[in-house]
């Protein structure tokens, strides 16, 4: 199986906080389901940010989908991002757009026809149990529903890699279960690699997974 993420001695830092991740070495293969856990402030979200190119590594190497993330060109990064599905704890939906427009954002960016966008939106909203809410606006939905829209958006273009930052952090059990089911299915049926940053691994999880943890010093270990 090919590597989707390869990090060697990866060091990540912020100007104001100094080094957050130190010498992290990890390899994530196609079809892996990975949990990254660790205490608050340990650098879980920082590591995830570097995976979608929002933080330049300070040292070491990082290769995502075959692309070297050190000194990656802007156009290449844009291209890479169109093949990623990203889920945020605070949803990051566009409030002035309808649910449908939010879901099809990755397809719209890639220039898919309106017909394809519309069909895909209906299919995904059915999967996330939000059929009939296509024309609602995010602020008219509950937190759980908004996050399901966020997950539907992440799955819209069948990405090769899903990166999720605390996707169920603030959600009720129903919404959390819907989201875990969707991610498990994407991983099992589409062979999508899923990397989830979370405080707590769900009690019931139906597929094999790998587990990395980050300690308070910013070191990354595989524990499972």
């Amino acid at each position: 199986m090919s590597n989707v993420i390869t990090a060697k001695n990866l060091t990540l830092s912020y100007e104001e906080d100094g080094e957050v991740i130190k010498n992290a070495t990890l390899t994530i293969k196609k079809g892996d389901f990975v949990f990254i856990t660790g205490p608050s402030g340990s650098g879980k979200s920082t590591l995830l940010k570097s995976f979608y190119g929002n933080l330049q590594p300070k040292g070491g190497s990082l290769v995502i989908g075959g692309l070297d993330m050190i000194d990656i060109k802007k156009s290449k990064l844009q291209e890479l991002r169109t093949h990623l599905g990203i889920v945020f704890q605070d949803y990051k939906l566009v409030n002035e757009w309808t649910v449908e427009k939010n879901v099809v954002l990755p397809l719209w960016i890639s220039g898919y026809s309106e017909e394809v966008q519309s069909t895909q939106a209906r299919r995904l909203l059915h999967h996330v149990k939000l059929s009939g809410k296509e024309n609602k606006y995010p602020l008219e939905l509950s937190g759980g529903e908004q996050q399901r829209v966020g997950v539907a958006r992440a799955l819209a273009k069948n990405p090769f890699l899903i990166l999720a930052d605390e996707p169920t952090g603030n959600l009720d059990e129903f919404s959390s279960n819907v989201i875990w089911d969707l991610m498990e299915n994407a991983c099992q049926q589409l062979d999508t690699t899923v990397v989830v940053v979370t405080h707590k691994i769900p009690m019931v999880f139906n597929i094999p997974y790998r587990h990395f943890t980050i300690d308070e010093k910013g070191s990354v270990y595989e524990v499972h």
Binding site: T82, H83, P106, I109
Partner: protein, 265 residues
């Protein structure tokens, strides 16, 4: 209402800038014509012992545009025509000299000095005091108007900067999300660009309409001869395209600055 509110906040400063620009264009065009008429109505009187050609004068000063020899006074002509050899009268030649443009007071004095360098020239009359009052009034009006236009443009500029802050607040979230999902700079700014271009077109039409009304209604009733004489110069059809081009350039720069300052989280 929301639509009007959203657009008026950009249209207002844009119209202020475009009014400044159009006032500048109109003022420049009108004063240029006025300056030419002042210049063409002004002449220097030169009294010379010998006959002089235009080339002789041009050699003395390059601001000299034309020379007209004035008829000698009739009485002197009669004496001259008697050909009485006993009358050893040297009748001078009188010349009216036109200058190439409306010169400043110092430049005019310099022209006089240059002409006096010729041994043939006896006397020069520049009508300095009349010229000075006309010239100073003209430069004062020009300066006052220029200052007004400058401040109008500065106010317009600051209102645009304020509008950029509003845009940043309103559109940053959408642009950040789009950037995370790989949208290009053009896609991210498409909404802002189309909105800003519409506002630029509306602003250009509004400003042009103001000047067309000014041209057709107010100027025909005014007592200001300078404007009445050049009423057709107040607004030309081509001005609309200048305004449109300028407003589009301003909004595109503003949009671009907003978009590049939005960073994905």
């Amino acid at each position: 209402m929301k639509f009007i509110k959203r657009h008026i906040s950009l249209i207002f400063p844009l119209v202020a800038i475009l009014l400044g620009l159009e006032f500048f264009i109109v003022f420049d065009r009108t004063t240029d014509s006025y300056e030419k008429s002042l210049s063409s109505n002004y002449s220097i009187m030169v009294v010379a012992n010998d006959e002089m050609s235009i080339d002789d004068f041009k050699e003395l000063d390059n601001h000299i545009l034309g020379v007209k020899e004035l008829p000698k006074p009739k009485a002197l002509d009669i004496i001259y025509n008697t050909k009485n050899k006993n009358l050893d009268i040297a009748i001078p030649n009188f010349y009216e000299i036109k200058l190439d443009n409306l010169l400043g007071i110092k430049a005019l004095a310099k022209v006089k000095d240059n002409l006096l360098e010729s041994k043939s020239i006896k006397r020069i009359e520049t009508f300095r005091s009349t010229y000075k009052s006309q010239y100073e009034l003209f430069t004062f009006i020009k300066f006052s108007f220029g200052t007004f236009i400058f401040f109008m443009s500065v106010i317009g500029f600051f209102l645009i900067v304020k509008q950029m802050e509003v845009w940043n607040f309103m559109h940053a979230q959408r642009m950040k999300v789009m950037e995370i999902f790989g949208a290009s700079l053009f896609l991210r700014s498409k909404v802002l660009i189309s909105m800003a271009v519409v506002d630029a077109i509306i602003s250009s039409i509004l400003t042009s309409s103001m000047f067309v009304s000014l041209q057709n209604m107010w100027i025909s009733d005014t007592q200001m001869e300078i404007l009445k004489e050049h009423v057709s110069d107040v607004f030309l059809f081509s001005d609309f395209f200048i305004l449109l081009f300028a407003s589009i350039v301003v909004v595109l720069i503003a949009v671009f600055l907003v978009v590049i300052n939005v960073k994905a989280e």
